[in-house]
């Protein structure tokens, strides 16, 4: 820990300096603090800036502790409350409580945040337990649970109108304080959590031998794991309840501690809170410095998110030990059809029939109606582009998902995880904020450019030698995390532009033109043909890089081509559906489950099923809230997420 002696004091000095920089205009209040006899400046100092400085230290320490415990108990160097979906779960629970049962909040936000965080953690751990807690799978599962929770929270926010935008601001993780109550709560949590962590240190050290080894030494593995995870969730959830979503401090603190040379579990648990406190203090000091000049509220949590994305990418090559072979297999032996052609024909016909039906029938005030030829002519120009766009984007996402799942040999790979959607969202947001009244074309090209940029980043990462495909997924996750951090920062501005972004994020087909829909369809067909042309790669690649390399497959070229195809498909579909839909994850799975095994059949089946799912989602989005339309991507998520979670928690075999 020699580096610690120089780095830690320097960091502490920097944190102090930044805080003093913000505090220098305000007069110091007398002690004890008594608002009656204080000037306005003294009140701002004594009940604003001072508790803010303390709470940054406390929250950082709590998150550092939580992250260190999670990383130790899961033996996973990229585990933290953000990557495991705990923070998002807590956030969803709070949003739900605010809207549906505000009375519950009377008992404080903490129990609700705790329940939500525990539910999310439980879900992710159940999924992880099926797959030997493989680090990459855990993070992917955590991100999926987190994304779903945020999607549901967004849905509820949208449904309840603009006044909930303040919730979005809270989600950004603002450290602004009005009194010392937050400090009191968090210091109690930190003291209790620290004591509990101290008590758990020795069992955790034994657990670091692995479950079998620890059980052999007489440790109650399940109990220790449960206690440690509950402790970590409790600590993280109390930060969520107090301050909102502060991403990645829990990831950064243990990682930095380790890189400074801390070895073993005791030092890690001891130093991580300290490093976490300094990291969050410095971030908050920077925000204060910016705020001092601009005066606009900019949540600190968004800034830590900005640091977190690149940090995750930096950590990836250091992630030791890939997944043991076979543990990523989601389910047992799937059925296999002898005549896949027949099934594909039936699905294809069904799709066309359904599309035709959906064109004709619709809801009218007071019931359902089949259109007569006259109204058909009136409705067709409105309905046809929507249907075509929905089906095409579903097919494109499904193709991208099928390719990624085969490329990475990981059944959890999907376009949502690739980061392209995140980049596309950033592009959309950038145009919304940069241009006063953007046209549809500008928004589309901005979105595509953002997606392309994320793709380029991902490609630069893939081009490196020996980069296993699953790490590429993690890089995608890092890009997504980065994007969502920037988005929450921009949303925090909280005006009409934020509203436009929020609407788009949940996906809307209502604005698409026929030309746009047809070009998307053409793209989907092109990607499908490309997939068929590369079907030999797609049959070899699931066997892993050593077999594929041994057979003379040019791995670099194959990865490049497939990622470009998947990325293009995702970027184009995202313009229509918004960044989240889960169709890219669901359709390839369904196609696989009905017995389409060979790559060409699998791809074709995925595309057809994806198109069908999106048609259903589109129909549901139009009809469920008639006469209002729900966003398409959101509706697809609400269908897809429960199914996905059911699939992942099922026992293999």
């Amino acid at each position: 820990m020699t580096a610690t002696r120089t780095i830690l004091p320097l960091a502490a000095a920097a944190a102090c300096l930044l805080w003093l920089l913000a505090a220098r205009q305000l007069p110091l209040p007398g002690w004890p603090l008594d608002p009656e006899g204080m000037s306005l400046g003294q009140i701002r100092m004594g009940f604003g800036l001072m508790p803010r400085g303390v709470i940054a230290l406390l929250a950082g320490a709590a998150l550092g502790l939580s992250g260190a415990i999670l990383q130790v108990v899961l033996r996973n160097p990229v585990a933290d409350p953000t990557t495991l979906g705990i923070s998002s779960g807590a956030q969803l629970a709070l949003v739900m409580a605010t809207i549906f049962a505000p009375d519950l909040l009377a008992g404080g936000r903490w129990p609700i945040a705790m329940t939500g965080g525990l539910a999310a953690a439980g879900l992710v751990l159940t999924i992880g337990a099926r797959r030997a807690f493989a680090p990459v799978t855990m993070v992917i599962a955590g991100m999926l649970v987190g994304l779903t929770a945020s999607a549901v929270a967004t849905a509820v926010t949208l449904a309840q109108g603009q006044y909930l935008l303040s919730l979005v601001i809270w989600n950004g993780g603002s450290l602004v304080q009005q009194d010392w109550s937050g400090v009191r709560n968090l210091s109690a949590v930190l003291a209790l959590g620290g004591a509990a962590a101290g008590a758990l240190a020795r069992p955790l050290r034994v657990l670091s031998l692995g479950a079998e080894g620890a059980a052999g030494l007489g440790l109650n593995v399940a109990l220790v794991r449960l206690a440690a995870v509950v402790l970590a969730v409790a600590v993280a959830a109390s930060v969520s309840a107090e301050l909102g979503l502060i991403a990645f401090v829990g990831l950064a603190a243990p990682a930095l501690t380790r890189s400074m040379g801390a070895r073993g579990i005791g030092p890690l648990l001891l130093w991580s809170p300290l490093v976490g406190a300094l990291v969050l203090s410095i971030c908050d000091g920077l925000v204060l410095a910016v705020e001092g000049s601009g005066g606009e509220m900019f949540p600190t949590g968004a800034l830590t998110g900005l640091v977190g994305g690149p940090l995750l990418i930096w950590l990836l090559p250091r992630l030791r030990g890939s997944t043991p072979p076979g543990t990523e297999t989601a389910e047992g032996t799937a059925p296999r059809l002898s005549c896949p052609g027949r099934l594909l024909a039936v699905v294809g016909l069904g799709l066309i029939t359904a599309a035709a039906l959906l064109l004709w029938i619709g809801r009218v005030p007071g019931g359902w109606a089949v259109l007569d030829p006259g109204s058909m002519a009136a409705f067709l120009p409105m309905r046809l582009p929507r249907l075509v766009a929905a089906a095409a984007s579903g097919a494109a996402l499904a193709l991208a998902g099928a390719m990624l799942q085969r490329l990475t040999a990981n059944p959890l790979a999907s376009p949502e995880v690739l980061g392209v959607s995140g980049g596309a969202s950033l592009g959309f947001a950038a145009v919304t904020f940069a241009v006063a009244a953007p046209s549809g074309l500008m928004l589309t090209s901005g979105t595509m450019a953002g997606g392309a940029l994320a793709l380029a980043l991902l490609l630069a990462f893939t081009a490196r030698r020996d980069m296993p495909a699953e790490r590429v997924l993690l890089a995608g996750i890092a890009v997504s995390a980065f994007a969502s951090a920037v988005l929450s920062a921009t949303m925090a501005v909280g005006d009409a532009r934020s509203w436009a972004i929020l609407t788009w994020l949940s996906g809307a087909t209502s604005t698409v033109s026929l030309a746009g829909a047809l070009s998307l369809a053409a793209l989907a067909v092109a990607i499908w043909l490309g997939g068929l042309a590369t079907s030999r790669w797609l049959s070899v690649l699931p066997l892993g890089p050593s077999v594929s390399g041994g057979l003379g497959v040019n791995l670099r070229l194959a990865r490049l081509v497939l990622i470009i195809m998947a990325g293009t498909a995702t970027g184009a579909a995202t313009v229509i559906t918004g960044p989240l839909s889960f169709v890219g994850l669901m359709a390839p799975h369904l196609s696989r489950r009905v017995g389409l095994v060979r790559p060409a059949d699998h791809l074709t089946g995925s595309a057809l099923i994806g198109a069908g799912l999106m048609l259903v989602a589109d129909f549901g989005a139009r009809m469920a809230g008639f006469p209002y339309e729900l966003p398409l991507g959101l509706f697809a998520t609400l269908i897809g997420a429960p199914w996905l979670i059911w699939l992942m928690t099922r026992r293999p075999g």
Partner: protein, 255 residues
């Protein structure tokens, strides 16, 4: 003739040197055992030879430096079996063996009569024809290993590199698989380099033995050169006794 010419080969990972300035020639047309203690670098050497791992130094395969080979040309001449074979989800035996033709037809080439013939011959040679329409994942360990061997045979490569092909099998399947590899090589003039744990298996089924210790060469020679107490002690750092079976073959056990 030399199969592999290895000059000053080193492989380093942070904090450890897996291969240390190794210089060695491997002869062609033989079944070569690579043996050594855990961490001696035997698997690392095999991975370098199979171009699965980057290394410093010079390695030539059939007289051409490894880096000069195009991926598919290399795969036409050399087939590699990793230590743990991945699950072949939903794949039939015939389909897996067919993948062995990839180096010949590539991503877009036609799967012609020659390819069909090679697949049929490979399945016949490895005795897996009767499993052809079964799912790979439903076979037993020994059967599955023979299917993977059939895939390598379908590659029609003159050289087979096998990383501990029998470590997960019971003793009867170990003998069966090693017997098959030996027959394949001797009947068709193929070369093989096999990483083995078991010194008696190496002595019984291989023509040539290369022993590594801590990333350096300690012994290269015939099985008879290996089966001497002094040689075995040098390799494993453990006193060993060599007994003679009734049929005259030597057997080594820890003394």
């Amino acid at each position: 003739m030399t199969l592999f010419q290895i000059r000053n080969l080193s492989v380093e990972v942070p904090g450890r040197r897996l291969l240390d300035d190794l210089t060695l020639d491997l002869p062609a047309g033989r079944v070569i055992a690579l043996i050594g203690h855990n961490g001696s670098g035997k698997s690392t050497l095999l991975k370098v030879l199979a171009r699965q791992m980057p290394a410093h130094g010079h390695v030539a395969f059939e007289g051409r430096p490894l880096s000069h080979w195009r991926a598919r040309d290399h795969a036409r001449r050399l087939a590699f079996l990793p230590q743990t074979t991945p699950p072949a989800e939903g794949m039939l035996v015939r389909e897996l063996v067919t993948l062995g033709r990839y180096p010949w037809h590539g991503a877009l080439g036609r799967f012609g009569p020659a390819d069909h013939a090679a697949v049929a011959a490979a399945m016949e040679e490895c005795g897996v024809t009767r499993f052809a329409d079964r799912l790979v994942d439903t076979l037993s360990g020994g059967e599955r290993q023979r299917v993977w061997l059939a895939m390598m045979v379908a590659q029609q490569a003159g050289t087979l590199l096998l990383d501990e092909p029998i470590s997960a099998l019971d003793i009867s399947h170990q003998v069966e698989v090693m017997d098959l590899v030996r027959r394949m090589c001797h009947a068709q003039g193929r070369s093989a380099v096999i990483v083995l744990h078991e010194v008696n298996m190496a002595a019984r089924f291989c023509d040539h033995v290369v022993a590594l210790k801590a990333g350096r060469l300690v012994l290269q020679g015939s099985p008879a050169d290996l089966m001497r107490p002094a040689a075995l002690q040098a390799i494993y750092g453990l006193p060993m006794q060599v007994l003679t079976r009734d049929d005259g073959l030597p057997v080594a056990i820890p003394a």
